[in-house]
């Protein structure tokens, strides 16, 4: 096996990061949240500016019932990997789920701004749906 150092693999290639994400996504979709979280953590180490790292790691922790940690991760992703409309929307949704309606409304505004900045029509549509009672 070829010896590989961190210097050789960082920053992660796009294909490599996609492969890690695919691995984590596969584990996540099979409800292996703990394994998925380990893979998403690795992804976050090599691709911290990729919004998917934060969103997926937050999602895995949310599924594990660690809602506060998930909220922190969504917030961090929204701040670090911006514009990060998926993280902002996930944050709004979770805030609403825990009964913090006022914060959730503000978070939806943030998500909308991020979605417009990212020119992502699909997420704009989802945000609009989320606003409806």
């Amino acid at each position: 096996m070829t010896t590989t150092t961190m210097a050789a693999v960082r920053p992660g290639t796009r294909e490599g990061v996609d492969a890690i994400y695919a691995t984590g996504h596969w584990l996540y979709s099979r409800e292996r949240y703990r394994d998925a979280a380990a893979v998403f953590r690795a992804m976050m180490s090599v691709a911290p500016y990729d919004e998917r790292s934060w969103l997926s790691l937050g999602a895995a922790h949310e599924q594990l019932g660690q809602l506060e940690l998930a909220l922190e991760l969504y917030t961090a992703g929204w701040l670090v990997a911006g514009p990060a409309p998926h993280c902002a929307l996930a944050r709004a949704r979770l805030l609403r789920a825990v009964g913090n309606e006022a914060e959730a409304t503000l978070a939806l505004d943030d998500a909308e701004i991020a979605a417009v900045a990212a020119r992502d029509d699909e997420i704009v549509e989802r945000i609009t749906r989320e606003r409806r009672p």
Partner: protein, 358 residues
């Protein structure tokens, strides 16, 4: 578990994962298809990450264990020091009240007899300091402070025996202050003191002042109390004691100038109050010192208990960190092994594919 190998066909080569049951919660963006190069890169990244994390964690745990061991050693030292402090504060090994006084007197007398004035001062200072820090002395003084008169009696008895050249008796009385010999010499001492005071007052025609008179009268008063209390003279002791008090006072008054009588009476009262107050002060001081030693002992024992608890806690921490370190190492070894296997499979797949194309 060979996660990467298991993942490859479903997650990388197809988008079938999109249709997999998505759990409630956030929906994740679907993964993009990754080729063989992407998979190889991912494996390398994960391998490097695991190696780095494992090394860093083991190194960090080593430092953690080192720090815990240092703290543990410190806790052991604290524990021992605290126990030693407690032992000293509760110690009854040192000389008690009479032993301490005897040592002070012995050193001073010894030095004075050999004209070693400087040594006498130095020895006295050292002895007093030792006595001040001697819990046994203060405990005995506290328990005996209620009978200051008896202590006074013993001191007088020792002085009287010494003046009479009976050094062995004086030494015995130090060891056994309640003996008949001690009581005997106590009476002699008081009589001598009263006599000396009366003579001194008469010779000086009262000019020695109220202090000397008061001192002598207090001595008589104390002797009266001692006789009454020790019942040295049987049933008559109380009367004799009172008689000595009155006699001593009358003797002193009779020998003083008639005009000084009111002053003398005032001085006597003052002196009596001083002695009473002095006794109370000594008792209070002894009580405070004993309380201080007790508090020291209690503090030291509490410190020792805390140090021991800290030690136990650190022991538990070290064990837990060691167990965790082993677990991390095992986990990383397993993960690395899985990755190696996955990479080998990947290489073989590529070779097979290349062979098929060829």
């Amino acid at each position: 578990m060979n996660v990467i190998g298991a993942v490859r066909p479903a997650a990388i080569a197809s988008t079938a994962v999109r249709s997999a049951a998505q759990p409630a919660g956030p929906s994740l963006p679907p993964p993009r298809a990754a080729g063989a190069q992407g998979l190889g890169d991912a494996m390398c990244m994960l391998y490097a990450l695991i190696t780095e994390t494992s090394g860093a964690q083991v190194e960090s745990r080593k430092h953690e264990i080192g720090a815990h061991k240092t703290q543990r050693d410190r806790a052991i030292a604290d524990d021992q020091a605290a126990l030693e402090r407690a032992r000293r504060a509760q110690s009854d090994d040192a000389d008690g009240f009479f032993g301490s006084i005897a040592k002070i007197v012995k050193d001073v007398v010894d030095d004075a007899a050999h004209l070693r004035v400087a040594d006498a001062v130095s020895d006295f200072k050292d002895d007093v300091e030792t006595t001040w820090n001697n819990p046994h002395f203060w405990r005995e003084l506290e328990s005996g402070a209620g009978s200051i008169a008896k202590v006074f009696n013993t001191a007088l008895a020792i002085v009287a025996a010494t003046l009479c050249g009976q050094f062995e008796d004086a030494a015995d009385m130090l060891k056994n202050p309640d003996s008949a010999t001690a009581r005997h010499y106590g009476l002699v001492g008081r009589s001598l003191l009263a006599l000396g005071a009366g003579v001194g007052t008469a010779v000086s025609m009262g000019t020695l002042g109220p202090a000397l008179i008061a001192g002598a009268s207090v001595a008589l008063s104390a002797s009266g109390e001692a006789i009454a209390e020790t019942r040295l003279l049987g049933d008559a002791s109380a009367y004799v004691g009172v008689g000595m008090d009155v006699g001593g006072t009358m003797l002193t008054l009779g020998m003083a100038k008639a005009g000084d009588a009111p002053k003398i009476i005032a001085a006597l009262r003052g002196a009596a109050l001083m002695v009473e107050g002095g006794g109370k002060a000594i008792a209070a001081l002894a009580h405070a010192r004993v309380a201080s030693f007790d508090a020291d002992a209690e503090d030291a024992l509490a410190d020792a208990t805390a140090a021991r608890q800290r030690m136990e806690q650190l022991d538990r921490l070290i064990k837990s960190v060691l167990a965790e370190t082993k677990e991390i190492q095992k986990s990383h070894e397993r993960a690395l092994e899985s990755l190696r296997a996955a990479m080998e499979i990947d290489q073989q797949t590529l070779l097979v594919a290349a062979g098929a194309r060829g």
